[in-house]
């Protein structure tokens, strides 16, 4: 059984409602998200003042070489944590692939393009219904893969900036200013993306805290992930990652 039933010891005259919850993210995924969130926040807080160093708010933060140095150290340490997290994430994916257990829900498919198109048609009032989605809809896949490539660029360009002497032993010197350019610009793209796209979808469209709690209730499952819901309800298969059963 992939769902969890919650019931209260009932006495006959009380109406008891049963709510089924469906596991959505396991403990590892939830921790990854929490650490990732924290890293990104710290990196942005310590990074943006360095980029917008001519502004008043930034100069209030980096007012002396000592404070700039501190901020850069925090940035570097957080970057190391983030790198470790990315390595763990990739390592886990490789492990799951080697065991042929990678769920593969997050991989982009042609269906996502069709879903995006249909959603667009729905949003411009041509279609009456939103398309039915599986475990991850195209919007969530866009979020994942956009951040995947953003963070890849940030990490690579970050290390190039951090160790220019080592990098230029192998690569031409021009990659250093290019990395600086990419790092600071990609950071803005990522920040805008998270605030505008991700925050909208998880806070304003509906409050979706499943990445923290780990589970999604039946109603949301049915509304937003009807394909997965139907699949789970009718043909539950046991080879999926069982996830965290606590809620």
């Amino acid at each position: 059984m992939t769902s969890q039933q919650k019931s209260i010891p009932s006495s006959p005259n009380i109406h008891v409602k049963l709510v089924r919850t469906f596991p959505r993210f396991n403990v590892s995924q939830r921790w990854e998200h929490a650490v990732f969130l924290l890293c990104i926040a710290i990196l942005l807080i310590t990074g943006l003042p360095q980029k917008y160093n001519t502004t008043v708010w930034s100069q209030a933060i980096i007012s002396s070489p000592d404070r700039l140095n501190t901020i850069q150290q925090i940035h570097h340490i957080t970057a190391l944590v983030l790198s470790a997290l990315v390595l763990y994430h990739l390592g886990k994916a490789i492990y799951l692939i080697s065991r042929r257990k990678l769920p593969g829900d997050m991989l982009p498919t042609f269906r996502d393009i069709r879903d995006a198109l249909n959603t667009l048609l729905y949003l411009i009032y041509i279609k009456k219904q939103k398309p039915a989605f599986g475990k991850y809809n195209f919007e969530q896949k866009v979020t994942y893969w956009f951040l995947f490539f953003s963070i890849s660029i940030m990490i690579i360009s970050g290390y190039v900036m951090w160790f220019p002497e080592t990098i230029t032993r192998v690569l031409p010197g021009g990659v250093i200013p290019a990395a600086i350019m990419a790092h600071s610009t990609e950071a803005i793209v990522t920040a805008i993306f998270i605030v505008l796209w991700h925050f909208y979808h998880v806070h304003f469209e509906r409050l979706n805290l499943s990445i923290f709690s780990g589970w999604l209730n039946e109603e949301d499952m049915h509304t937003y992930h009807s394909l997965e819901y139907n699949q789970l309800v009718h043909e539950p298969h046991s080879d999926q990652d069982p996830g965290d059963m606590k809620s």
Binding site: L120, E165, P177, I192, N217, E219, S226
Partner: protein, 471 residues
């Protein structure tokens, strides 16, 4: 009402009292503050006037030169040094003071009578230091500026060789160095400045003379180039080894190097400051120049790469830093592990273009399109979504025009319909459910119940029940 008006009246009286008190206070303090100032100023003026008038009896220069115009007039001072008292009449006549007809006794104020009062000096340097004080009588502005200089600081710390007025300007052979009308430095003066400074700072002068600036000055008499004073200042010459000077130095170089009127003649780019500041070295230096001007920084400024006094042409094969191997030496001062590729990490004051630093140029170009694209697409989609949900709420009658979830009873779990539930069916269930909810609320036992109402579930069910109530 009466109470309120009473209160208002009381406040009004208090406010008027405070206002009048503060006005009185301001007037009183102004009077106190201003009186001594005026007295001080007037006393200063009268003192100065007295001082200027106090030249003793005016004696013609010919009287002085009657003795001092004879070569060989000397005097032995305390330490046995011989002080030459001869003044060449021609030299004085061609000096700016001589031309303007100033009398000897206007500087040598106490020598109007003969026999002169006794003059005591420990050595020759002491003579100069004593006599140079007199310059303040006419040139108090410049004199006071020198009081802030590194030279004055050195004097105060006991280095008697540190320059005073006459060391640079001369005494009886003072020449005009600035234009009488514009007060700009005359070209001839520019040519003589480095040699003047070289009297003490010869080692630096030797470097300067071979630099691109110094060579142009001495060989081509090119007065566009900076002389010592353009960087170090004139009378209030500061200490150039401080952190503040270092942070400010890029502006110093930029004062000429961003001026197209000078640079265009030589085909030198005026973007050097922009490109320096936009690179992170320059960014940091500029930031701290504003934020904490006294903070020492390890980021390079212009002279760390180009040299201080021995600035050479960048295309000089031996020393020019356009040559990567020459620049590498400079890089390695701070980046000891730097190898041959490293210097090209610095964009050499180029603005990225397809020819120079094309990678940087194309990365920048990519983001110029990528950012508006991502931003635009996201804003459009989010905006459409917001618009659609508002439309759905106002026109559709339901929060979302999607199939409503069915509360699945545990007994039904095995027989959930495969197709999406019908709308009527859905409504029925909803009504049933909300009625049940209402019943349970009426039974006043709901407080004791801890039903599993979490997240959206709670909101949604409450919303539904409200809707039904409304109907």
């Amino acid at each position: 009402m009466r109470l309120v008006s009473k209160c208002n009246f009381f406040y009004l009286i208090t406010a008027i009292f405070i206002c009048s008190l503060s006005v009185f206070f301001i007037i009183v303090t102004n009077v106190i503050a201003s009186t001594p100032k005026k007295e001080l100023q007037s006393s200063l003026q009268s003192q100065e006037l007295l001082d200027l008038k106090d030249t003793g009896p005016i004696v013609g220069n010919n009287v002085c030169l009657g003795c001092h115009g004879q070569p060989g007039l000397t005097m032995t001072i305390q330490n046995g040094d011989v002080l030459d008292l001869y003044v060449s009449p021609d030299t004085y006549a061609t000096s700016i003071h001589g031309q303007d007809g100033y009398a000897c006794v206007q500087c040598h104020t106490n020598l109007g009578n003969y026999p002169h009062p006794t003059f005591t000096a420990t050595d020759l340097r002491n003579v100069t230091l004593q006599l140079t004080n007199v310059c303040i009588r006419c040139h108090s502005g410049e004199y006071n500026l020198t009081m802030d200089s590194a030279h004055a600081a050195a004097q105060a710390s006991g280095i008697r060789e540190a320059a005073v007025c006459t060391d640079c300007h001369g005494s009886h052979d003072v020449h005009q160095w600035t234009d009488a009308v514009t007060h700009k430095l005359l070209p001839a003066a520019r040519l003589s400045i480095p040699t003047t400074c070289s009297k003490c700072h010869n080692a630096i002068y030797q470097k300067y003379a071979t630099s691109v600036h110094g060579a142009a000055l001495s060989e081509e008499s090119n007065t566009d180039v900076p002389t010592c004073i353009d960087c170090h200042g004139v009378h209030n010459i500061g200490n150039p080894t401080t952190a503040a000077f270092r942070l400010k130095s890029p502006e110093l170089c930029a004062s000429c190097h961003t001026n197209p009127a000078i640079m265009d003649k030589y085909g030198i780019s005026t973007d050097v400051l922009n490109t320096y500041v936009s690179d992170f070295h320059g960014t940091t230096v500029t930031l701290f120049e504003k934020q904490s001007p006294d903070a020492p920084t390890n980021k390079p400024v212009c002279y760390d790469c180009h040299g201080i006094h021995d600035i050479s042409r960048v295309d000089n094969p031996q020393t020019g830093i356009e040559m990567q191997k020459n620049l590498l030496v400079r890089c390695q001062v701070c980046h000891p592990d730097a190898t041959s590729n490293f210097p090209s990490a610095w964009m050499s004051h180029y603005i990225p273009s397809p020819e120079h630093y094309s990678l940087v140029y194309y990365v920048n170009l990519f983001y110029k399109f990528f950012i508006p694209l991502v931003l635009g697409a996201m804003v459009a989609l989010v905006g459409l979504d917001v618009g659609h949900s508002i439309y759905a709420r106002t026109h559709g009658g339901k929060p979302r025009p999607k199939p409503k979830p069915v509360e699945v009873q545990p007994s039904e779990l095995t027989e959930t319909p495969t197709k999406p539930p019908q709308i009527e069916h859905n409504d029925e269930i909803k009504n049933d459910q909300s009625e049940q909810r209402e019943q349970s609320e009426r039974s006043e036992q709901s407080d004791q119940l801890k039903l599993n109402n979490q997240g959206d579930q709670t909101e949604q069910s409450e919303h539904d029940s409200e809707e039904v109530n409304h109907e």
